[in-house]
């Protein structure tokens, strides 16, 4: 005969009373720093292991990089060689008035001390990128390559020049290649964008309105 078993409560139990965390007695003089550190020490759980992160490999081709960067609003153009740079730029930006670049002469001289007023008028910055990441179209741009920290975002248009041999598959290989992040540095993936109005994608929020990667 079939009998109904007594309904059992779901098997989720509180592992300990929730409000019995340690109270720490401290002299009223102790600073917030000491208080926070003491509370963290007293309340932290038993130590667990820090895992080793495997280097997940993948497709590191320029094709994959191009495909992903294009899908997020960037553009990739191949250069036959570095000497072709200026010619391609003139074709791409015939109306550019004020450009800044460490890669060729005759542009606005910019360094860490250049004033905001001067930077604000730059319409084109052409900077060397260091590492390209195929899985997400990002390019590592260290401070040393920026002329001024604000240049990559304050310029109206940004061009990054990248050696295609420096493209890696995933962020794991990218970070593995970074000796350090320096004082400041950024992975830049495409032009500045927003979707804050009804989720409609608009390119050109506060940073560069366009991003072109020149691969050689």
């Amino acid at each position: 005969m079939f009998t109904l078993h007594k309904w059992r409560k779901p098997n989720i139990k509180l592992t300990s009373p929730p409000f019995h965390h340690f109270t720490i007695s401290l002299s009223p003089l102790s600073s917030s720093r000491e208080k926070i550190l003491a509370a963290a020490r007293a309340n932290k759980p038993e130590e667990t292991l820090l895992p080793t992160v495997p280097s997940f490999e993948g497709d590191a081709s320029a094709e994959r990089f191009t495909e992903v960067l294009t899908s997020i609003g960037g553009q990739v153009i191949w250069l036959e060689g570095p000497e072709q740079l200026q010619q391609v730029l003139t074709q791409l930006f015939p109306d550019s008035r004020i450009s800044a670049s460490p890669l060729f002469p005759g542009t606005l001289p910019v360094d860490a001390l250049t004033t905001t007023e001067v930077l604000a008028d730059v319409d084109l910055a052409v900077l060397p990128g260091e590492i390209g990441v195929a899985e997400n179209g990002a390019i590592w741009l260290p401070e040393a390559n920026m002329m001024h920290r604000a240049l990559p975002t304050i310029t109206q248009h940004l061009v990054l020049v990248l050696d295609h041999k420096r493209i890696v598959a995933t962020m794991h290989q990218a970070y593995a290649q970074l000796p350090s992040t320096g004082g400041y540095g950024a992975f830049v993936a495409g032009p500045s964008k927003t979707a804050d109005i009804e989720q409609s994608l608009v390119i050109g929020a506060h940073g560069a309105r366009s991003l072109i990667v020149l691969l050689y």
Binding site: L14, P18, L37, A39, V53, I72, T116, A205, H206
Partner: protein
């Protein structure tokens, strides 16, 4: 007012509710597409979870390591036990520089600490520079989502706000045009700013550096033009190694919006020549949460918002119905830790379907914690009387096979004759407000099973 009452207000506008629901579900589907394209995504979630667990288990050590490295980098490090101290420290730095022009990029922590009202009360204007944040700042509203702060608004609302505040044409609703207007308006603020305040996505203990992820570039533009940078971070933002960033940067944007990565993943380690950088490390209830074994996992959160986009309750009730800095499933765990009384209805704003836990990139057991909060609240007598008594009766009824048998029979036969006015009496049965009773079955499973035995 509780969550249900506020949600009722939101769903009063059926079209908007449907739009909100569908828009967030669309973001969820974009997330799925991005996630399925990465074969090792589940491994990354597990790694992220383990890295965060480990960090929390040695939090004091990593905090000290981070502080030491940051100081070595020439960064000023401050510690704030609570919101008031956080606000006081920031006001103090601003005053030391006699600054009046402040820009701020997105930071849920400064939101949590109510920094803006504090600065305004002290005569200092802060301009939020993330487009969504600027929109709601102009409207004097709170963000309704972790990464999509203005998702509760339609373009007509934004158009009206910009018409009033930024002088765009009346009736202009084109997102492209509105965004351009905001770009021009905010650019003037960026160029003039003396101090830039930012949040922190990740703080790397071994380098003492912080990482900020944005799509708009507003953090970079603000911080790199202003003379002083103040970054506010909760103690849970730490990760041990630079290489751990590879795991988190692969998870964050994919989980949040389905992008492969945010446009800018910026690493701030040292202040620029002759500039200043401050980091304010904030507790504000976090060490308390660390001491609650059942709820400490909530400190692993990387604020991607995926649990909101997937939540059937959030999608249909809107972020403001939670009346908390962080809304949605994760907010419903974090908020009662800060104020149990005020937020007592939040852990009930869930179907416990578990979808939040399924999408969480750091594997927080969100729905289990919601269930546990309900128990805690019941024990602390923080649930409404109607819920308490109905649950008690229900419990008794369900644990007695006899009562259940008789009750079932009565219901099957009686349901047909019950007057609508009784089953749908608003005050007794909130559940029935938007629902109809089912057609009663002829027999119970128990009776059917007996019949099968006899045959």
């Amino acid at each position: 007012m509780n969550h249900a009452t506020r949600a009722a207000k939101f769903i009063g506008d059926a079209d908007r509710t449907t739009w909100h629901d569908e828009t967030l579900w669309f973001v969820r589907t974009k997330r799925d597409k991005a996630v399925y394209a990465v074969p090792e995504f589940q491994d990354l979630r597990e790694l992220a979870s383990q890295i965060k667990n480990h960090t929390l288990s040695k939090l004091d050590f990593y905090l000290e390591q981070f502080e030491e490295q940051a100081k070595r980098n020439g960064v000023h490090v401050h510690w704030a036990a609570d919101a008031d101290e956080h606000n006081a420290i920031i006001l103090d730095i601003i005053r030391q520089h006699n600054a009046t022009r402040i820009v701020k990029s997105k930071s849920m922590l400064t939101e949590e600490c109510h920094l803006n009202p504090h600065l305004i009360a002290n005569g200092i204007e802060v301009v939020d520079t993330d487009l969504g944040e600027r929109i709601i700042q102009l409207r004097d509203e709170a963000p309704s989502h972790l990464v999509l702060p203005a998702i509760h608004l339609k373009k007509e609302d934004v158009g009206e706000t910009f018409f009033q505040h930024l002088g765009t044409a009346k009736g202009e609703v084109d997102p492209q045009v509105l965004t351009e207007a905001a770009r021009q308006h905010l650019r003037a603020r960026f160029l003039a700013a003396e101090v830039a305040i930012s949040g922190v996505n990740f703080a790397v203990a071994e380098t003492g550096g912080i990482v900020i992820c944005t799509n708009e570039g507003n953090a970079d533009l603000g911080v790199n033009l202003a003379h002083v940078h103040i970054a506010a971070m909760g103690i849970e933002k730490l990760i041990p190694r630079l290489s751990d960033l590879s795991v988190f940067t692969r998870l964050l944007a994919r989980s949040a919006t389905g992008q492969p990565v945010t446009t800018y993943t910026s690493h701030y380690t040292k202040p620029a020549a002759d500039k200043e950088m401050h980091i304010v490390i904030v507790d504000n209830g976090r060490t308390k949460q660390l001491g609650r074994p059942d709820f400490r996992a909530s400190l692993k959160c990387i604020r991607c918002g995926a649990c909101m986009n997937t939540c059937p309750v959030y999608r249909r009730s809107g972020g403001h119905s939670y009346d908390a800095t962080v809304p949605g499933p994760i907010g419903s765990i974090l908020s009662p830790n800060i104020d149990m009384k005020k937020h007592s209805s939040l852990p009930f704003a869930s179907t416990l379907c578990g979808s939040c836990s399924d999408v969480c990139p750091v594997k927080i057991d969100i729905h289990t914690q919601l269930y546990k909060w309900r128990q805690v609240l019941a024990e602390a007598n923080e649930i409404p009387a109607s819920k308490k008594w109905s649950m008690k009766l229900m419990g008794r009824f369900l644990t007695s096979p006899r009562a259940l048998g008789i009750g079932g029979k009565l219901a099957r036969h009686g349901i047909k004759f019950l007057p609508y006015s009784l089953t749908h009496a608003r005050h007794f049965n909130v559940w029935a407000v938007a629902r109809e009773l089912p057609e009663p079955p002829k027999q119970s499973f128990h009776e059917w099973y007996k019949q099968q035995q006899v045959k």
